[in-house]
Symmetry: D2
Subunit: 142 residues, 4 copies
């Protein structure tokens, strides 16, 4: 692991410490590198909507956490501006959802990420495209 | 209140009964009519992300619940296909978020909704545009 | 007409002068104010796709021009970052398309606009939600 | 080339014949397979906006044509419902834009595509995510 990736991991660990909603979802961090993250949750009963399928807010929130971790992994505080998500397939209680965030393009002040959310059978549950704005503030770690 | 709006309210009450995630969020239903809903939540500590602001997933989930209630209010089961959300302003613990869903256009099988999420100061927190697909299945109510 | 709106009009006239694609589309400027624009085109045969309906790129482009005019109307050069469009209804040759761009929210560096595209019967043809980034460069006019 | 891909090519050739706007853009078809297309244009002066960069409507329209060709390639008439596009980089006169459309997921009645638009230096100009609705009507080809 190189220095930038180690730093990225530190940043995300610090973010996660105070991220009460990701904690509630039971987010597990599988991998973090600069501009990249891979995280997972297990779908619990309290994550379902009135049709006994995963509430869209959960699928979105998982992707949004992966997006935030990947966006902020270089230590510059970023904020999500605009996000689009598609839901090709529903999820069920007991499913494992894995979100993988990759940076697709970047300019000085903004960046574009694509996040895939898949279930334990490698089926696509959600596709999330997000644009974030990079502020000049720094996240302090160690 | 006309018959269609009464029916809409019955549908949403039934959806809400089994919508464990909306229950967890503390969703309160302010108003429901055919193709319309207005709901609110109070932002709790466990809804925050690592920057002490409302997790994007919560803002999205509130809008998504309002969208689902408005979409399904005519009794035909609908599913969200594609959604885009913008986040003009962050939320904080203690904020009240109110989401109002309005149908903008409809075809035989799909419908387009716009959902505004505002805080207690009437400031725009999120703008959600959603397209749903109307199946031929019916939600059964009394 | 106040000074800001007069200035907005000057900016848009200058943009239009060099906007060869808007010229090709036959864009007519109906109204311009600060952070607002209303423009129209007539749908010609060469704007159709293989199904004899208006090519989605034309509907988008009209909205995108309205967006650009409204975004830049305060003289700060802005660029579109992320845009989402829905197509509730198709257009035909001979239709008049009117796009109206309104600013919904703004921060220091970004702004959110909603653009409605309607036809001559006041039917919604497209709904466009756009986020732009405001640079510090100025458009020079008179 | 298998039978389905040959059929896809026939469909797209037929669509292109009547697609006057794609013709105006000078769309060249590089490759077509079932649920896939790759097309290109050269950016001309009349495709620019007031900042001497490619009008967003052109980038969108190219992607939208690639989307339509890929969506309809199985002979079922489909319509675009909701589309989101990001613009990581601007284009200039003389650039070659190549759009590649891939199907990401599909259900009975809808499908999700991702379209990348790159320039001649393989730089990402646009990222387009589109959801379409598949009707039961068939495109007739020979």
């Amino acid at each position: 692991m190189n220095e930038k990736d180690l730093y990225a991991r530190k940043i995300v660990d610090k973010m996660m410490e105070l991220d009460y909603f990701s904690q509630w979802m039971g987010v597990e961090i599988l991998d973090v590198k600069e501009n990249y993250s891979k995280i997972q949750i297990a779908v619990r009963k309290e994550m379902l909507n009135g049709f006994a399928i995963t509430h869209g807010g959960i699928t979105f929130a998982l992707a949004d956490s992966a997006f935030a971790f990947a966006c902020n992994s270089d230590g510059r505080i970023t904020v999500a501006l605009d996000v689009s998500i598609s839901f090709p397939k529903a999820g069920r209680e007991g499913d494992i959802f894995i979100a993988e965030a990759k940076q697709i393009a970047t300019t000085n002040r903004t960046a574009l990420f694509l996040i895939e959310i898949k279930n334990q059978h490698n089926e696509l549950i959600g596709l999330f495209k997000g644009t974030c704005y990079k502020t000049e503030k720094k996240l302090g770690v160690g």
